[in-house]
């Protein structure tokens, strides 16, 4: 089980931190103890009482995932400036959150909604549209959970452990305390995880450039590296302008449509909590910008990772003592647990409210809802684990890519109703279908790449396919709505005529 990269100091630090966090996960059931956990508001939303700081840690821990820490530097290492689109993406997301989410929260809190699909059903009274939003949410979340497992796999391997047993063990522990404590578990663990990640990144961005001769040297080494490779660069090529901008914008619009980010929103104590967080959460974006630069530091440090995903672990192993590398790996692994827990809770809430309650047992009690959601959360996590153990990693990555495209197509259904009463359910459903299936088809024919090249009057422009699908979605919804309104206007006269 152990290979030649094994370092006892790193392993001991890692194991101790993992045990602390696991104990916290189980103890969390007693944190801010409710009268009963046997209610979906308690298990699935932590009692809708999280204030500014808890929400800050929870959403920060949930949105900036372990996979981010691995994948963003990996892309920056591979292609350079283009991978930096994660920064404008995670800046632009907050004006959107500030404008939309307090309204969504207010609607949900007033009516006791737990999911985005609940809100849609409450507003439009359409079971079909509710189901479309719910299925999209679950489909988009499943590969996202699998991605967190990939993040954990990378650091477990970097610790010098072989085989799948450590991964399975870590995930089963996660599954059990999420079952027991619900959203309280990741909310409590997020404190530890986020503080650890902040420490790791601040140390890394302060110490590593000193060791490597300053940021000027880091950028110069990266530039030389890309020149030698003949691909990528530390500035964007003109052909990358549109992909960069559309990926940033599309991702920012999609980010808080996911069940796990919305769970953080619905669990907040008030709209003001969300507004304050839209102002305070960008602190994590600053962190992400610095994390992205780890990809360039690898060039300056002369690290030659076998795969791009190993950039960060290899860099830490090369530049830090064993115990601190262990601390950093624990931060990343724990960083995977928080989003994986919230994602499984978000998916379970959707299943319980918008499938079980809607179709199987409409008379289900709040306690019954909580029980269904708890069991679903176990199944969801086991499903993600099986995907990672038995299917190629690329499968999860491809699905995750489509997941972003899919979830973006729920934006009109979830958001438009908060600002206008103009759209009707059949129109939004038609738009969703065109965006979802048309977008998937385009991505499929482009070889599961997120970009699609348009030819407009001889000029070619390459854009994010999710955003393209969203434009089609909105246009179709508007046109169908106009047609429906035309029919509605005719209807009364025809009744009179008969």
């Amino acid at each position: 089980m152990i290979n030649d990269r094994f370092e006892p100091a790193a392993f001991v630090v890692f194991l101790l931190l993992f045990i602390v966090v696991s104990v916290m996960g189980f103890v969390a059931a007693k944190w801010r103890k409710p009268k009963t956990l046997a209610h979906l508001d308690e298990w699935g939303l932590g009692g809708r009482q999280f204030g500014t700081w808890i929400t800050w840690f929870l959403v920060g821990g949930d949105f900036y995932t372990a996979y981010t820490v691995i994948a963003v530097p990996a892309v920056v290492y591979s292609v350079g400036a283009y991978g930096f689109f994660a920064l404008p993406y995670t800046i632009l997301v907050y004006p959107i959150v500030f404008t939309i989410m307090p309204k969504l929260w207010a609607v949900a809190a007033r009516a006791g909604h737990v999911t985005a699909a609940d809100v849609v059903h409450g507003h439009y009274g359409s079971r079909a549209l509710e189901l479309a939003v719910a299925i999209t949410g679950v489909l988009a979340t499943m590969p996202y959970i699998a991605l967190q497992l990939i993040g954990m796999e990378v650091v477990i391997k970097a610790l010098g452990l072989n085989g799948e047993i450590p991964l399975i063990a870590a995930f089963l522990i996660l599954a059990f305390y999420t079952y027991a404590a619900g959203l309280r578990a990741p909310a409590l663990i997020a404190f530890v995880k986020d503080i650890m990640i902040y420490i790791v990144v601040i140390v890394a961005v302060a110490i590593i450039p000193i060791k490597l001769g300053g940021y000027g040297a880091v950028f110069a080494a990266a530039e030389a590296g890309f020149k030698a490779k003949g691909a990528g660069g530390i500035l964007l090529a003109p052909a990358q302008f549109w992909p960069y901008a559309t990926l940033a914008l599309g991702s920012a619009m999609a980010a808080f449509m996911y069940p796990h980010t919305l769970t953080g929103i619905f669990a907040s104590a008030s709209g003001e909590t969300i507004r304050k967080n839209a102002i305070l959460l960008p602190a994590y974006t600053l962190l992400l910008g610095l994390i992205a630069l780890l990809g360039y530091m690898a060039y300056a440090a002369g690290v030659k990772p076998a795969t791009a995903n190993e950039v960060v672990p290899d860099l830490f192993r090369a530049l830090f003592p064993g115990w601190f590398a262990g601390f950093a790996f624990a931060a990343i692994a724990i960083g995977a647990l928080v989003p994986a827990a919230v994602m499984s809770i978000g998916a379970s809430n959707l299943f319980t409210r918008n499938f079980w309650k809607a179709y199987v047992n409409p008379q289900v009690t709040p306690a019954g809802e909580a029980q269904v959601a708890k069991i679903t959360s176990l199944l969801v996590k086991i499903g993600a684990l099986l995907v990672i153990l038995f299917l190629p990693t690329q499968f999860a990555l491809d699905l995750q890519l489509l997941g972003g495209l899919w979830i973006l197509q729920t934006f009109p259904s979830v958001v438009f109703g908060l600002f206008t009463g103009w759209f009707r359910a059949p129109a939004l459903l038609a738009g969703w279908a065109v965006g979802f299936f048309g977008g998937s088809y385009l991505a499929w024919t482009d070889g599961l790449k997120p970009l699609h090249t348009l030819v407009i009057g001889g000029a070619t422009t390459t854009v994010y396919v999710g955003l393209l699908a969203l434009v089609a979605n909105i246009v179709v919804a508007a046109v169908v709505n106009l047609v429906l309104m035309g029919k509605m206007a005719e209807a009364p006269t025809s009744i009179k005529g008969s």
């Binding site: 400036a81 930096f84 920064l87 404008p88 800046i91 632009l92 907050y94 004006p95 500030f98 404008t99 450039p209 300053g214 940021y215 000027g216 040297a217 880091v218 950028f219 530390i234 500035l235 964007l236 302008f241 960069y244 901008a245 940033a248 914008l249 507004r275 304050k276 839209a278 102002i279 305070l280 960008p282 974006t285 600053l286 910008g289 630069l293």
Partner: protein, 61 residues
């Protein structure tokens, strides 16, 4: 006041404005420090909008 929230979109989505190395700052090419600088600026703009909206609510009461 919500118009202020459009500024980050303008500042960050028009790539030719900032896709350059110079002027660099502390070793960071312009492309990088410019975008990183938008993090606090965007946060500040949101804070201004929030304050203004809160003031409005108080005024109404």
């Amino acid at each position: 006041m919500y118009v202020l929230l459009l500024l980050p979109f303008i500042g960050l989505l028009f790539i030719p404005f900032f896709n350059m190395s110079e002027p660099s700052l502390l070793g960071f090419p312009f492309f990088y420090w410019y975008q990183i600088a938008w993090v606090p600026v965007s946060s500040l703009l949101t804070w201004i909008v929030w304050r203004a909206a809160r003031g409005g609510v108080r005024h109404d009461q």
